[in-house]
Assembly symmetry: C2
Homo-oligomer: 208 residues x 2
DNA sequence: AGACTTCTCTACCATTTGGTCAGTGGGTGA
DNA sequence: TCACCCACTGACCAAATGGTAGAGAAGTCT
């Protein structure tokens, strides 16, 4: 495999571009021809690397899952051991992701359409992370550092809130909130506040 | 127009079915042939009533907006004058909608993809409602009945939370939350709690 | 050099897609 | 009865779609 200083592989480029396009325009709305066009290659080259379009999608989903996991892992590694601090680091990191690669979160939404077969696959890949989050929350709750609640619901709320930010640009606009950096920061502040009060209600808050 | 006891018009049936299918499987994933097949008619009949597929989509969006407006209007009309009571009635009504016609909220999500031309149209139709909501919130805030905050952000959070419920079934499942009635009630309770604390923080709460 | 592998392309193909056209039949008003 | 309109359909069509087959270029190993 001579990939020394050759820049990104064609396969890599296809994957990257497909992720972006699937995540923004959607899977069904993206033809292989269009994809190839953007990349300056022929459709057959795509089909050489990924034998069907659905195959490409699964590869894209796998990659997205990997990226997401890596991002989160990174956030948690760089955060201190304090419970709330870890939650905050996670949210901040994902907001950064939403700013820098919104298509990744868009893909999550695209793929988690009810009944989608990709949803299952994605879920399977995220399972370790989910379990880790659940265990973390439950431990903190048991130790009295977080308020007692159903960890699954807490995570669902957080997910829905965060993905909504990246994903509901048009709704924001309709509500008079332009997708500027400032508004993103504001949203992040709100979500952190929400999580803070959901988790710490009757404890010392670390906010403002 | 003699529509006496003839049951729903063909046009009506097309609209209804298209709304459901677009809202669940998505616009691009739905062919006119498939749509016609479900209805037991020929594709040409659809194109007779709606001259292009995009035309059908706009009609569907218009109808969805109308239904949504009607639902909300109804909730507000049946609610008392007390501020929090009105918010609660609204949320409850939309949750019922999410249960009974999830495809309607699914369509919202489908259509509000960033850059979608339908997003604009939908926004325009929802504008009066949005303004009404904003004015309501601002008035209540000014009167000290609600905590002071940016009304737009409050509405965005509420929207994102509620639509997420109807829409993120697969994510819920991945988190171990099956889409049962009980789980929906639980989610509703949480969202109401969230809104309550966002709006009433330092006031008498009406919750439990 | 020659065989082999890897990658990309040109040339096709069957099917599906959104859409047109020219009807057909049934009802309605003059 | 005749003209007219409405709702609907069968027969097509051009373009686009996902996918196949095979060849050529370039490198690698022997």
């Amino acid at each position: 495999m001579g990939e020394i200083s050759t820049g990104p592989t064609t396969k890599e480029r296809i994957l990257e571009d497909a992720l972006t396009t699937f995540g923004t325009r959607g899977y069904d709305a993206t033809s292989l021809d269009a994809l190839a066009g953007q990349l300056g290659i022929r459709k057959q080259t795509i089909l050489y690397h990924f034998s069907t379009k659905e195959d490409l999608l699964t590869a894209v989903v796998d990659r997205a899952a990997l990226d997401l996991l890596a991002t989160i892992e990174q956030a948690l590694d760089s955060a201190g051991p304090e419970s709330w601090e870890r939650v905050e680091a996670l949210v901040r990191r994902i907001f950064r992701l939403a700013l820098v690669r919104p298509e990744l979160l868009g893909l999550m939404r695209e793929v988690s359409r009810p009944g989608s077969s990709m949803a299952e696959r994605l879920a399977a890949q995220m399972e370790p992370l989910i379990r880790r989050g659940r265990i973390f929350l439950q431990r903190e709750m048991a130790a009295g550092r977080f308020q007692k609640a159903d960890a699954n619901y807490v995570m669902l709320s957080a997910y829905s809130a965060v993905v909504g930010v990246a994903t509901e640009v048009e709704v924001s606009r309709a509500l008079g909130i332009e997708p500027t950096l400032r508004s993103m920061v504001e949203r992040r502040k709100q979500i952190l506040h929400f999580l803070n009060s959901a988790l710490l209600e009757n404890t010392t808050t670390s906010d403002s």
